[in-house]
């Protein structure tokens, strides 16, 4: 499965996949030489070229430095489409619609918290269900409530006592995407979602306690409440089975739509429909509803994380924990961008990529307006994660997008083989990182060596000007599925 696509180096951090064959535009990959070498032998670059085949694409098919082989779009892929001639593709969003991350900053310092980290990780593990098929017995949504979640997202959660109103302005799109149509979500999807709100799930999803270990921009860090040593909680999850089912349900329709509208597909997983078509409108309504479910899911998990902090450190610790930000990784959105010097509304697909709007952007809440949008980049559970800010460079070059994480370097099979003779839990504990997980298998598959060093990815983003480093966080306790 190797790629035969030609690649040209533009500069130290940019590579062009020149338009050829059925491609309608170039591909543009952000990476340094080492990261490009990591792509040899898989199909990620071919997938960038495949995305460039889709009708109505505006600008290049873009890939972030954490690009890796996905299905349809590569993971780390960004593409914008014209509203009249372009398409929406569920393969450009992914199965885990609005998979994303949120970061909470506590009022505690790591030195205050360290003696009680064991109690904290146990409380988080008890309070936030994780693992394969995780569900909650205390939050089972009746049909009307589920429809409220699908329509209103995090706003529904806050109105029902999960969090505080101030949380909403620290969430992308204020935690509610317009255009959600609960009626477009199938009964199957609703059935899968009704007991999964407030659960982390499994695989690479997690709840991670960390602290601010290094600061790159002290003024911005202070504005975000991320002073040196501050204890933080990172949450990574998405729309759970409900979102997977929404995507799955849409694919047969989109395959038929691709044939109906005579859209040639280099990969069936890129099946799509013109944005103005009834097929696209149906998917759009269901996708936004699933995205709202994901916002509400992370809002509930943050609520339970605050409760766990309160149980261990007292009620004041829960009350003084604030939401730094919450971002989507897998989404398609209508946004206004400048294309060839003129403002234009386009449909931006981000699959394994993060929105990174610059200072002054009108969609940002007033408290972020002069800073730029906070961007959260988790790494692996043994090393570090980053907080960045959106930049003008991202707005100019990448439709206001940047990377989303480290990207895997080992398959799950390779990771398990490497971990088998070792005890990864003990190794992490010896480094001062406590792990609670439903199975040892997940910990082995998610071992730190399974991922690229996220600092390589973030350094490229920073150097290329499509993100700006603020702080580095180091993990001290992790709940894995």
């Amino acid at each position: 499965m190797e790629t035969s696509v030609r690649i040209e180096r533009i500069d130290a951090y940019r590579w062009r996949v020149p338009r050829h064959g059925g491609m309608r535009t170039d591909g543009l990959i952000f990476a340094d030489e080492g990261l490009m070498r990591d792509l040899e032998g898989d199909q990620a670059v071919q997938q960038v070229a495949n995305v460039a085949h889709l009708p109505g694409i505006v600008g290049p098919a873009i890939a972030m430095p954490d690009i890796h082989w996905g299905y349809g779009f590569p993971i780390g892929g960004v593409a914008a489409f014209d509203l009249e001639t372009g398409v929406v593709s569920p393969g450009g969003v992914g199965y885990d619609i609005n998979c994303g991350v949120r970061l909470l900053a506590t009022s505690l310092s790591i030195s205050e918290a360290r003696p009680r980290l064991g109690a904290l990780v146990d409380a988080l593990y008890r309070t936030i269900p994780s693992g394969v098929g995780a569900s909650r017995s205390d939050v089972i949504l009746q049909r009307r409530e589920l429809e409220g979640v699908l329509r209103d997202g995090a706003r529904w959660a806050v109105e029902h006592g999960f969090g505080v109103p101030a949380d909403l302005e620290a969430i992308e799109a204020n935690g509610t995407l317009e255009g959600a149509d609960p009626g477009a979500v199938s009964d199957r999807a609703k059935e899968r979602g009704k007991s999964q709100l407030g659960t982390v799930g499994s695989g690479n999803h997690f709840v991670e306690v960390g602290y601010v270990a290094e600061t790159f921009d002290a003024a911005a860090a202070a504005r975000l409440g991320l002073e040196p040593g501050r204890l933080t909680v990172f949450i990574h999850s998405g729309s759970r089975g409900l979102g997977y089912q929404v995507c799955d349900d849409s694919l047969e329709t989109m395959l038929r739509a691709s044939a109906k509208y005579a859209i040639p597909l280099p990969d069936k997983q890129l099946c799509c429909a013109p944005l103005a078509s009834p097929e696209a409108r149906h998917y759009w309504g269901a996708m936004n509803a699933a995205a709202n479910f994901a916002f509400a899911n992370r809002q509930l998990m943050a609520h339970y994380a605050r409760r766990a902090l309160g149980q261990v450190f007292g009620p004041e610790a829960a009350e003084r924990t604030h939401l730094v930000y919450d971002v989507c990784h897998n989404i398609a959105k209508i946004e206004r961008h400048e294309v060839a010097g003129a403002p234009r509304r386009v449909c931006v697909h981000r699959k394994g990529a993060t929105r990174a709007f610059p200072p002054g952007h009108p969609e940002l809440a007033s408290r972020f307006r002069d800073l730029g949008q906070p961007v959260l980049i988790p790494g692996d559970m043994g090393r570090y994660s980053y907080v960045l800010l959106g930049t003008d460079g991202a707005y100019r070059e990448t439709f206001g997008s940047t990377c989303h994480g480290a990207g895997r370097r080992l398959s799950r099979h390779q990771a398990k083989k490497l971990a088998r003779p070792r005890n990864i839990l003990r190794e992490l504990e010896a480094q001062g990182i406590l792990v609670r997980a439903a199975t040892r298998g997940t910990v082995d598959e998610e071992m730190p060596e399974a991922y690229k060093d996220v600092s390589r990815v973030v350094d490229v983003v920073h150097a290329a000007g499509i993100g700006r480093k603020v702080v580095q966080l180091k993990p001290v306790a992790v709940v894995k599925g």
Partner: protein, 129 residues
């Protein structure tokens, strides 16, 4: 073994080989069962019907496996083997079945079935993990 996993960084890719479409479904169920449950034993106790349509062999195979995964994920029906018009298996029992991994979906990525020189069928399927 009628299936073998390929190296895939983020997800799971499997090659299925069989003389006919029914054999591909059987191999696909075996591969999916291994991903979901490792080597947990699964009894052939019940049969659940599946009607999988599609424009070609690849789409029919993917659509069949999507239904098997849905039954597992939404109804906790553990697949043991493919049947002519469905899938055989048993309800999930925590004391006998070890759910080792979440499989989000059976994708259409690169979905293709080819006939080899020996007349047999060969399919590649990518599962989203």
């Amino acid at each position: 073994m009628p299936y073998r996993f390929l190296s895939h960084t983020a997800d799971a890719a499997v090659v299925l080989e069989a003389p006919d479409e029914a054999g591909l479904r059987a191999a696909g169920v075996a591969a999916l069962r291994e991903l979901l449950l490792g080597d947990s034993p699964v009894a052939v106790a019940l049969e659940r019907p599946i009607r999988a349509s599609g424009n070609d062999t690849a789409e029919r195979l993917i659509n069949y496996l999507r239904e098997v995964l849905y039954l597992y994920d939404a109804e906790r029906f553990v697949p043991a083997e493919a049947a002519a018009e469905g899938v055989r298996g048993e309800p999930f029992q925590a004391d006998r079945h070890r759910a080792i991994r979440e499989v989000k979906a059976v994708t259409y990525h690169g979905a293709e079935v080819r006939r080899g020189a020996d007349g047999g069928l060969r399919a590649t399927v990518v599962f989203d993990l």
